[in-house]
Every structure is written in structure tokens, then in C-alpha cells.
Symmetry: C2
């Protein structure tokens, strides 16, 4: 489709990406006399903090996603298009997309981040990322397919590959994923797979630095490690991955783990577009922005959230790649864009730290709210409450709540279905001959 979307007489703000930042920005422009164009490659917003629960059979994919058209229902100045942005032509103020070229006055890159394999192609080819709903569903299918295959495979090395689950990266996603798989083992597998010797199932969490949850308090770090060990997770800190060929994971210190399921949560990189000032691309493939999120070397192109790096004295590596950063930047940018259009002074961004939290499992979470730190069951309820409230849409809140309450009392997971089997190119044959 090679259409052209020329501007009208109104100022057109094009937002690429319907994540936390893009949505907040678009909504805050609701009553302004501008034309807002929101683009996303999906027709839905993904609540990324709960992807790991989709991957481990705790939640339906549909309950952590929300139709973008519905979010902007009634916003008359907004047009939404499902499309992928390809390249910026900054001198012509044109964005190239898969549905054609779109003119803009202001362009906001809110594309978020993808998994960072740090250039290790072999690992990228074989490890499972978990940054989108299809990726989370693939991981769910793979875990369940492995368990089914382990019912009929007797070769001990192949069984090891099927029943060792390795999570790489001890940030919140890694900790939460490892904990969720450990709970799956503890509460579900013993009932579902009576033939399986549960001692054969091992869950590893591998982290390069000396501690888990690097961005949290020492208290939270220690407690989360303790929680994981209580659940039977083998926590390996100070361990770095050297190679992974889909069957054997090799660590820098020479250790090897047989595993066909390596979940990669060791880092993210910005999902930048082509055509932007290349000198603005800094560590983590992020776009260096000034204090109002304008990209270095551009006049009318901005970046917010995970794809941006606003480097300040307080944040020499940029702000944390979390939802509150994106939301706060989106909100402020709406105001600043309006001020720029009206020749008014702009306000520099100031990050309001909302704290950090991570859940390891049932009754086990860690919460840092500035000086207030707590762990355990109350932290777990806090975590659930905050995540429920942040989910977009009443139906989603309700369905997730129902699922959580149900799981709490039944010790079960509702959605352990292999709806679309996942086949690795390499070794699908050895796993499950045919499932359709």
C-alpha cells in the first residue's frame, strides 16, 4: 500500500507506539486543536509487567492487552493506524511506514524496547525473548510441549534439555519468571504429570552481577534471593552466559546446563527507527534526548520512555526503563509541545520515583517505596493491587482479579493450553512430532 497521508492545515503530531508513554501523550492532547496520529504495529496496548504470567499459564493473553481504538474512543482529534514505522525523512518531515508516507509537524518516537542479545547471534536465535504477547505465548507453548515430550522421551540428556528451565537476567522480569515457573512446578506439575519425577525439573536463574534486582534495596535483593531459594530455584549470581546453541548453555566459568528452554531477560535495547541522527544513538541503542525529550540533532522529533535516554547528573545512564518514566515523560511532552506551538516556555522533565517492586510467588514479594521497604505477604498484596490498578480497562481488571483470586484458593493456573504450538527451527523433531 503506497498511500500518502498529507497534513491538513492543523499541526499534526505523529506518535509511533501505543505503550504507556504514547498513550499518555495522546490522551493529554485530547482537547488541543491539533491532529494526533497514533501508529502501532499491533491493534492493542500490551501491559508488559504481566507478560510473564501469560508465559507461565497464569493469565489469558487477552486480559493484559487492550484495544488501542477503545482507549481513544471519542477522541475526535486522533486517528489510529495499525502499521509499522520504517524510516524517518527528517528534512522532509515525512515518516515512511508499511501503509505509506505520513507527513508530520512533530514526531514522537515511543517505540519502547526489545530484547538485547548484545550482538550474540547464536543466543538470539535459540533463546526465548518475552517482550510481546506472541513471544509470551510461544514460551508458554514451549514449556508445556517440553513437559508433554518428557512423558515419552527416556534419553537422559534429552530429558535434561526438556526439564531444565533457565532464566537469564536477575532483574524484575527474570526474578518474577523464575518464581512463576517454580510455582508451576510446585503446585501444578505434581497433579498434571503424575508420571513425572519432579526432582528432574530444575529452574535456574542466572545473573551476571553479584545480586538480583540491581535497582532495588539490599534488603529487597537479599529477600528475593531467599524467596527464590525457598521455591527451589537455583540462583547463580556472578554468572555470565558465554554461548547457547539451543541445547547446551555454557557459562563463562565453564559450567554447562542442558536446556532447550532459555528465557532471555538479561537486557533491553531501544527500538529505534532508521533515518534519525545516528550520533544521538547511545548505550542500549537508545535515543539521547534533552530535558524536554527532544532528540539530539533534531528540531521536531522527540523520544519518550524506554527508547529514550535522558542523561542527567542524577541519572547518568538515563532514567529507569519503567512505566512511570514513560507516563511522566508522555504527560509532560503533551504540555511542552503545546507550549512550543504557542511560543511559550517549556518545562524540563523531573522524574518522580514511585519506587520499585517485584513478586517472586504466592505471598512472596519485595517492595521499595523510597525509605519504606517491606517484603512478604503484605508486599505481595501491594504488588497485586498496584498492578491491578494500572491495568487498562475495567474488564481486564475484573478478569485478572478473578483469575488471581481463583489461583490463590485453588493453587492452580487456569490457562495451561498449547493453543499454537511453538516449533524451534532446530530441534522440534526431537520434541513433539506433531501438534496442531
Amino acid at each position: 500500500m503506497d498511500q500518502h497521508f498529507p497534513k491538513s492545515t492543523k499541526t499534526r503530531i505523529v506518535i509511533v507506539g501505543g505503550g504507556f508513554g504514547g498513550i499518555e501523550l495522546a490522551k493529554k492532547l485530547k482537547d488541543k486543536d491539533v491532529e494526533v496520529m497514533m501508529l502501532d504495529k499491533h491493534n492493542y496496548h500490551t501491559f508488559q509487567p504481566l507478560l510473564y504470567q501469560v508465559a507461565t499459564g497464569g493469565l489469558e493473553a487477552d486480559s493484559i492487552a487492550f484495544p488501542l481504538r477503545k482507549i481513544f474512543k471519542g477522541q475526535k482529534n486522533l486517528t489510529f493506524r495499525v502499521t509499522e514505522a520504517l524510516r524517518v525523512q527528517p528534512f522532509e518531515n515525512i515518516l515512511e511506514t508499511t501503509i505509506g508516507t505520513i507527513e508530520y509537524d512533530h514526531l514522537v518516537i515511543a517505540t519502547g524496547s526489545t530484547s538485547n542479545f548484545f550482538g550474540q547471534n547464536e543466543i538470539e536465535e535459540h533463546a526465548m525473548p518475552m517482550k510481546s504477547i506472541p513471544e509470551a505465548l510461544n514460551l508458554r507453548s514451549l514449556i508445556l510441549q517440553n513437559l508433554e515430550a518428557a512423558q515419552i522421551i527416556t534419553d537422559p540428556i534429552l530429558r535434561d534439555e526438556l526439564l531444565n528451565f533457565v532464566v537469564v537476567g536477575g532483574g524484575p522480569t527474570g526474578v518474577e519468571t523464575a518464581g512463576a515457573i517454580a510455582e508451576l512446578k510446585k503446585h501444578v506439575l505434581k497433579n498434571d504429570y503424575p508420571e513425572l519425577n519432579l526432582d528432574e525439573v530444575s529452574i535456574y536463574l542466572i545473573e551476571g552481577s553479584p545480586e538480583l534486582l540491581g535497582n532495588m534495596s539490599v534488603q529487597a535483593q537479599r529477600k528475593s534471593e531467599e524467596f527464590l531459594k525457598e521455591l527451589g530455584v537455583i540462583v547463580m549470581t556472578n554468572s555470565r552466559v558465554k554461548a547457547y546453541d539451543g541445547k547446551v548453555l555454557s557459562l563463562l566459568d565453564g559450567q554447562q546446563i542442558n536446556s532447550s528452554t532459555v528465557i532471555w531477560s538479561a537486557g533491553v535495547k531501544g527500538a529505534v527507527l532508521e533515518g534519525l541522527n545516528t550520533t544521538a544513538i547511545v548505550r542500549g541503542n537508545r535515543l539521547k534526548v534533552n530535558e524536554i525529550n527532544r532528540i539530539d540533532g533534531h528540531d521536531n522529533i522527540y523520544a519518550i520512555g524506554d527508547v529514550s535516554a535522558m542523561i542527567t547528573e542524577e541519572f547518568p545512564n538515563g532514567h529507569p526503563g519503567v512505566a512511570p518514566t514513560a507516563i511522566q515523560q508522555g504527560k509532560l511532552l503533551a504540555k511542552n509541545l503545546w507550549n512550543i506551538m504557542n511560543n511559550l516556555p517549556t518545562t524540563p522533565f523531573k522524574y518522580f520515583d514511585k519506587g520499585a517492586m517485584a513478586t517472586v510467588g504466592r505471598n512472596r514479594a519485595v517492595v521499595d517505596l523510597h525509605k519504606i521497604r517491606f517484603q512478604g505477604i503484605f508486599a505481595w498484596f501491594t504488588w497485586m493491587f498496584v498492578h491491578l490498578m494500572t491495568l487498562v480497562g475495567f474488564r481486564n481488571k475484573l478478569v485478572v482479579f478473578v483469575n488471581w483470586v481463583w489461583s490463590y484458593f485453588s493453587y492452580d493456573r487456569g490457562t495451561r493450553l498449547i493453543i499454537r504450538p511453538y516449533f524451534k527451527e532446530s530441534n522440534d523433531e526431537s520434541k513433539l512430532d506433531k501438534v496442531s
Copy 2:
């Protein structure tokens, strides 16, 4: 995987298919001193009567599916395997599957039915079936992708293709699907697609015979047609499909409809296995069985539910292809198999007709309970209650109930997400360049 699963000293009953009939049979054998082996190509049971709600964005796929392992939790005499049955070797009492060969004493074919295109390959290639969860999800994606594509395509013939939705077959599935798409148009599209002229969206229901719901009372037939027309569905009875090339649907009388979305619910055929007595295969590709569901020409192979045809004076075409038939046959076969093993007399099957019902939309359903017939809002609540109660699993009942209550008050559908885009081989390019 070429394993062999030899029998132990116990009698082994192998059941192929975890649908309504297979589950009932396996459960009823729980306390018997036999070895039960349940095989299914999926790891879940599908509640087929609600597939159309998954396809039209009303329900999550996960809420109408239930893990088969969980259904048989604690049933010590049962082994479950995810595999596809390929071929029977009746003289050797061996079943060939994708995971190897399985010995049996008694084999029960409970494989259900698939869409019947009556040998029309071109239609089969282009029309959308709706007999499994992946198929229902593909249809959901296609409907939503078409609506997105219609936002940017201006060519009138292409727009017609995108915005004409054709359902072929006026049985319960066809009636329910056409009604659900009509409600999607009425309640959701006007909010989600403010740029779209709703008059361009047309829903056709095509039925070969003079009336809809052929198996129901005249009262129900008339009322369902009235309900559909109220919702704006173009009902075409006495119309037969001649050809469909993915773009133009041609009827026998010469009429043509431009449509890229033709949903096929015009008939089913039994999903028979190879290696069985071919003379037992009767109309609709079903297996002719005697009064205890034993397949003609076999001593120890049985068929129950949709894949079987028990022809009696009262049912010259076999029993209705509905859940109660399968459940009742599964239940009785459990008893009869036990009696056969113990040289006791068997009981012939007697169908208990539970009536029929179909829903057209909000407050609009038709119910026939023998002589008691009613339509409208009370019928609709009856339909919802019966379907809720028949759903397997408390969590599923709860989540579906929450979704229905929420939809009732909000006039909305929760799950209109294109999670896995569907690409027809033929004309994907003209629709949406890339969605991933």
C-alpha cells in the same frame, strides 16, 4: 519418535479424542480395573458451542478450553498423551500415532468432526472453517484486519471485499455467528471506527434449504430469522454456493457477493482414521455403528459422538451431532465395555433428546424443549445458563460469566485483539502490509 507402547496384563482401552464423548467415557471408567489411554492432538478440551464467541471477540480462547490433564487429575488408571492418531491395524490390535504404536484391547474412536466442503477444493482453500480454537482465532484476526485495512483502502470493490461478511450454513453455528457479527457492527464498530460508514458493512447468512435451524421447530425457525433481520443480517434461504475464489462468492442462481471473509458452517464430516473397515464409512464420512456403538465389521473398535452414525428407525440419518449424543454414548459405552469384558449382556443405546437452542444476539434466542418452546429474552438467559453450566471448570464458568455480565452492561466485546495476524496465501498483500 518411534516408540512402542505394549500393553500390561490389564485390559487396555484406548480412546482417541478428548471431546465430550471421550471425556465422559474415560471418566466413567475411573474405578474399573482397566488401563485407560486417552489421546488427543491438543492438550485441552474445546467447548465447541462457544467457538463463535471467540471468533467474534466476545470471549478469550482460554475460557472455552480446559486442560485435559486437569480433567483426569487423580484418575490413576488413565494415561494421557498429546498425539495424533494416524492409522489402525485392526488385525494386530495396534494404533499408529505420531508418537509411536500403541497396543489396545478395545479402541474407541471419538475424534469428532471437521468442516465438510463436500469436495469443493476451491471453497475449502478460501473459506474460513470454525471447528477449532486456532481456526476461531484466525477468523477473529481476519475480521479485525479487514476493518483496519478498510480504514486506508479506497477502491470500492476492495472495500466491498473487506466489509462484506458471509456466513454459509443456517444451522445453530451459522445463525449464532451471523448474529454475533451483526452485534459487533451495531455496538462496537461505531465507536471503534468513527471514520467508517457502517452502511458499507454487510452481513449475509446463506442457507440452502428453505429455512434456518432445520432441526428446530417452525416457531424457532421463523423467530430466529426475524431476530437476524432485526439485527440487519441479510438472510438468504434457498441459496446454494457454487464457487468462491477468495474474493467473489458465486451462488447457484447467479448472484455474486464480493467478500474476503466467507465463514463456512454448512456441514461437517466425521474425522475417521485410516485402516478401518471402509464399508462402514457412510454419509458424512461417519462410521456406521451398531446399537452399542461398535463399528460395523470390527469386534473391538467403537465410535461415539459426531464421528459415528448409529442408524435406527427413529434416526435414519444417525443421531444429532450434538454434545448430549456424544456424552450419552460415552457414558453407556463405559458400562457396555465393562459388561463385555465380564461376559455380561450389553444395553442398547437410547437417545434422550434434551432439546435444542440457538442464540442470535442480546435478548434474542430460541429454545425448543420438546413441546415447550420459547423465544426472546428468557430463551436467551436459558441459553446462557445452560452453556455456562456445561463449560468444564469453575474458573472457565467464572471468567465467561464475568465477560457476559460485563458485555451485557457495556454493550462491548472484551477481546478484539489481533494477537496472531491471519494471512491468506492469496490476497494478504492487498489487506495489511505487515502486522506482527
